[in-house]
């Protein structure tokens, strides 16, 4: 949603943030309320829905058997795909959301490219021939600011929820290996998602900076730093966004801030995920 603000509205918001006061009364490093729900899409192997303030994101993980990359025969693949639903607003109709879709999916694959994030070896089946392809599809239903962070939360939660069916590898009569799925639906493997990164976007408004900007705050942002933070504080990808420039000292300050907030958020999410796993599924009817 593009929010159109007048100059004086922008100045009002920016001055507030320089004083440490935000439009909705939050502190500069407070997130909005996060609603988390797991297993919302039964057709997917794992799924989650995240509501971060007014932003609403649905993520689904589907496993399919395919061929591994020739360069890495023992590993599976993860493929990210982001879809901006036109439900979020008229500007995303048709090809309207394409730029954002590419931006988010590229950043996701960058952040997860490091082998320490997810153990792709688990996804390998027959070396060089077959492996699991994990398709991670993200559907953005509503954009109320800070969509990147919401997407990363949804992806991590969906991966946590993902149950990959166990597979038996048999040798056929001709001496070729064959893959056979088990009949037991409760026989599955779960990936460790402890090290999956969460994105933290910090927006610079005037002299101050805030996390989890609302749509209005994003409209007056000069520059933004997004970093993918792991639970141990390591950063697996980061980028400056928006058209402004930043001083070196403020970049360092923002990184430190990102790291702190990211570690905190990771901790909270990990503790909430096990709770959410057992919660009843409400979906969109709530």
């Amino acid at each position: 949603m593009d929010v159109i603000l007048s100059k004086s509205e922008k100045i009002f918001l920016t001055h507030g943030i320089e004083e440490g006061i935000r439009e909705d009364g939050r502190a500069p490093d407070d997130y909005r309320t996060i609603d988390l729900e797991l297993s919302v899409v039964p057709n997917a192997n794992g799924s989650s829905r995240i509501k971060l303030g007014n932003s609403d994101v649905l993520a689904g993980v589907k496993c399919e058997i395919g061929e591994p990359d020739p360069g890495r025969p023992n590993e599976g693949k993860i493929i990210f795909n982001v879809d901006c639903s036109a439900n979020a607003g008229t500007e995303w109709e048709g090809r309207g959301g394409d730029d954002l879709e590419i931006e988010i999916s590229e950043f996701l694959s960058k952040a997860y490219s490091n082998k320490s994030c997810l153990d792709l070896q688990i996804l390998g089946l027959i070396p060089g021939e077959q492996c699991w392809h994990l398709y991670i599809d993200v559907l953005i239903l509503r954009n109320g600011g800070n969509i990147l962070d919401a997407v990363s939360l949804a992806v991590k939660s969906a991966l946590y929820d993902t149950e990959i069916p166990k597979v038996l590898i048999k040798m056929s009569e001709k001496g070729q290996s064959e893959v056979e799925l088990t009949d037991n639906p409760s026989d599955y493997i779960i990936m460790s998602t402890e090290n999956c990164p969460i994105f933290v976007s910090i927006c610079k408004l005037g002299k101050g900076h805030v996390v989890d900007a609302t749509a209005k705050e994003s409209a007056c942002t000069m520059a933004k730093i997004v970093s993918a933070v792991r639970k141990d504080g390591m950063i697996t990808a980061s980028q400056k966004k928006c058209s402004g420039s930043l001083q070196e000292s403020s970049v360092l300050e923002m990184y430190e801030h990102c790291r702190k907030v990211g570690m905190e958020l990771n901790k909270t999410l990990i503790s909430k995920l096990s709770e959410a796993k057992n919660a009843p599924i409400v979906g969109f009817l709530a």
Binding site: K110, S243, Q247, Y255
Partner: protein, 270 residues
Amino acid sequence: MPTDTKRLPVPETSICPSTLIEDISAKKLPLISNNKRRDDRLCTQLRHVYAKLKVISQAQGSAYIEIGNTKVICSVYGPREVKKRDEFSMDGQLCCDFKFATFSCPQRRSHLSDNEEKELSQQLLNALSPAVCLNKFPKARVEIFALVLENDGSAFSAAINCASLALVDASIELYDIPVAACVRYDGVNLIVDPQLNEEYSHQESNLSEENGQVLVAYLPVLKQISALNHVGCLSSKVLNQSMKLCIEATQKMHTIFQECIKEKVKSIMD
């Protein structure tokens, strides 16, 4: 441009032979031995830089840059009037297109922009726009096309450098000249301006966990960072160090570009 995916008769399932060759060559070597890198450079040494302005006669401004074997050409058109009424804005607009030539990388690139190129176009825009006096050309648009002819590492930083030189050549008013540089960290050493076999790629298997690459575009006079991009797992301490190294490298580059621009101006004056 027509989007005909069948224009080049390459089979869909073709594999580049280089991926099948067991890496006997450079990739297995350590990045640094005896304080020297794989190409005998020191850790903080840049490759040789060659830059030339005005290489495409039809364009308003253009530049060609070689950093080692990495070659990028860039052209700037405009400012041109914006035709569509609903695209008017009182600030000028920049429009960037970043492309790898099909033959530029070890693996063949498609002639259509893939997602990576589209994303880098957006980043190029973000890197340049803080430096351009957009208020000087209201209701108009400047188009920047960067084409990587050969990618031997640090191609995107070379493209930023090339684009800013092309903007200078097109006499578009700038607050400063954005200069970019890359730094690679392999778990032990920080090396400036990595070439292709030194660049970070998640494909490499024998990596230590902490490992990555940082790109910074810097405005040397204003002392501001206009683009920042990193991949790979880094702690904030290493991130800070590599940012500092990047900035040092951009300052070296800046003097080279200043010379290049000075010469160009002199030749026009004569």
